[in-house]
């Protein structure tokens, strides 16, 4: 049999020598993760969900360093991670909501509209740091959230507040050292913004001083993080900023509404630091019966039906005065700066999610963000519901949330950039002395 099958024999011989032959071939190394080039490691790790990235830092020194590697930071940013939402309750940032793409049940393909997936209890990220005095905790309030960092202040009712800048993901914070303001200052309002042009973060504040005869003068001051040693005074502003500067950044400018003269919208160009007035919707009747009254009572928060929001880099104005009739209006400034481009779109909230009570259909809503396919994520102003609104078929979908949420939803872009990259160590910040200005 063996003689009839010589190939079999040679195969046997080959098998015998093969281990010896392969010894002379380039030795095959078992490929392990740690053998991969850095760029591939980063490619893989940057695809992890946020929580896994943070816990993965504990794997080894190399991984710890990878998550602050410029290569990782660039790659993570280029993936344009889905936005998150920070929820604050009673002035306290309580939760981080992560929005992730959901799968279509039929084709199990990813849709471009992310939905809520998880909601880790966030407990004001800076809290566990001992450096923040305990008495500062209860009053920590969000000033603003931009490009991965958030601004926090301790007491909105006290002009001598403490201001913190934080990367909540990394648990980093930076306390601005603010010398005491002089007694004539009666109101300070802070805003936090980011310039896409220069990549600089800026704090703005409106400082109002009261002089004899109840005469008030408001001035605008700016402080660029990591650059300025002092607040820079940009001079007097003809109109005050009352409650807050808000979060509305469109076209590289921060926008807010004049609480007194409600058809006025103001913009602060974050890069050039120029103030401008932006035209409101022409002919919009402002239902502000209560306003004059509120003003006479010197209230700092006049009741308002109008709220400025940014949706898809478009300046929008929501009018929820019709909420009791089951609708809210969103005005879109289709072409920035062009008064005639304001377009009204009515959302019939009375057609709200099936099976929900009248209190849901007839409440006030605030849009939070718009997805690529045009769906708008909205928060009920009563604060406990999130809805996704589809403008094409005018339907609402309630977004399930595992735990109770806060009352104010703020968009937040997760970032792994360290605060150290924008503020040097022990960077001292001081106020502009009134005599110098």
């Amino acid at each position: 049999m063996e003689a009839e099958n010589p190939t079999h024999k040679s195969a046997k011989l080959f098998a015998l020598f093969n281990p010896i032959l392969s010894f002379f071939k380039p030795r095959r190394r078992r490929t392990r993760f740690m053998h991969l080039p850095r760029v591939i490691m980063v490619e893989i790790l940057s695809k992890l969900p946020i929580e896994s990235m943070l816990s993965s830092k504990q794997v080894c020194k190399l991984w710890y360093n990878l998550f602050s590697d410029p290569l990782f930071l660039t790659m993570y940013k280029s993936r344009s991670p889905p936005p998150c939402i920070l929820f604050s309750r009673d002035h306290d940032i309580s939760q981080l909501l992560k929005l992730e793409p959901c799968c279509d049940d039929y084709s199990s393909r990813l849709r471009n509209r992310p939905i809520l997936l998880s909601c880790p209890e966030f407990n004001t990220p800076v809290k566990h740091r001992m450096d923040i005095p305990v008495e500062d905790y209860p009053m920590l309030r969000l000033i603003g959230s931009c490009n991965g960092f958030i601004g926090l202040m301790t007491n909105i009712y006290d002009i001598n507040t403490s201001v913190y800048i934080s990367n909540p993901l990394l648990g980093e914070y930076f306390k601005l050292k603010l010398p005491e303001l002089e007694k004539s200052v009666c109101r300070v309002v802070y805003g936090f913004c980011f310039s896409e042009v220069s990549g600089k973060y800026k704090l703005v504040r409106s400082v109002t001083r009261r002089f004899t005869g109840h005469r008030e003068v408001s001035e605008l001051e700016v402080y660029t993080l990591g650059v300025d040693e002092k607040w820079r005074n940009l001079g007097q502003v003809p109109y005050p900023v009352w409650q807050d500067f808000g979060q509305v950044c469109v076209n590289g400018a921060l926008h807010w509404m004049d609480p007194v003269d409600k058809d006025s919208i103001y913009s602060f160009d974050i890069e050039t630091e120029k103030l401008k007035s932006v035209p409101g919707p022409p002919g919009l009747v402002f239902p502000f019966k209560y306003l004059a009254q509120a003003e006479s009572q010197r209230s700092t928060c006049a009741p308002s039906c109008l709220t400025l929001v940014e949706l898809g880099n478009c300046l929008c104005l929501t009018d929820d005065s019709g909420s009791i009739y089951g609708h809210i209006d969103i005005w879109w400034m289709k072409e920035y700066g062009i008064a005639e481009s304001w377009t009204k779109v009515r959302i019939l909230t009375c057609l709200g999610p099936a099976g929900f009570g009248l209190d849901i259909c007839f409440q006030k809503y605030l849009p939070i963000l718009i997805w690529k396919d045009g769906e708008i994520l909205m928060q009920g102003k009563k604060g406990s519901q999130l809805f996704s609104y589809n403008p094409k078929d005018m339907t609402f979908t309630m977004i399930p949330i595992s735990r109770g949420i806060g009352t104010v939803a703020t968009r937040y872009l997760p970032s792994f950039n360290s605060l150290k990259t924008i503020v040097g160590d022990n960077f001292q910040v001081s106020n502009v002395s009134p005599n110098e200005s």
Binding site: P26, V59, K61, Y64, L170
Partner: protein, 159 residues
């Protein structure tokens, strides 16, 4: 047809339409450098067979959407990445070398999906990584974001 040679001297014939999904080989063909056998000194035959399997399946990827074969392709991809870590890393290295973007994405995503929500201990064991951090350093990292280390979704199993 284009001939590829693995580092263990095995030759494979691949259709040009399939092989040009590799940016590297596409450039070689365009530059007229692919007249004879293309040697691939970084890729062994076992890995190259997997890569060619992928290239052949994805040959008409643009058309798949029209012909309704997308689901079929998706199923193939799912099956394709069903391999051990070492094999997966070999394919990733090959995809990186040959510059096949889609394959790279697929495999890296698969790697990330396997690590997702795993406990630190499980990640170390799966990827054979030795912990070189001190206890103090580890505690510091946990303190920075304690919420990332807790929760019912954290999976301590190794697979």
């Amino acid at each position: 047809m284009v001939k590829l040679k693995s580092n263990d001297d095995k030759e494979f014939e691949v259709e040009e339409a399939a092989v040009i999904q590799s940016e590297m080989i596409k450039n070689m063909i365009e530059d007229g450098c692919a007249t004879s056998v293309i040697p691939l000194p970084n890729i062994d035959s076992k890995t190259l067979i997997k890569v060619i399997e992928y290239l052949n399946k994805h040959i008409n990827m643009g058309k798949a959407a029209e012909t309704g074969e997308e689901d079929d392709l998706k199923e193939f991809d799912e099956q394709f990445v069903n391999m051990g870590w070492e094999e997966l890393f070999d394919v990733i290295m090959a995809a990186n070398y040959l510059n096949i973007h889609e394959l790279m994405e697929l495999c890296c995503q698969s790697a990330a999906d396997r690590l997702k929500n795993k406990s630190v201990r499980a990640v170390r064991e799966m990827l054979k990584i030795t912990n070189d951090l001190t206890e103090e350093e580890e505690q510091e990292i946990i303190n920075d974001a304690p919420w990332a280390f807790e929760g019912p979704e954290i999976d301590d199993t190794v697979n």
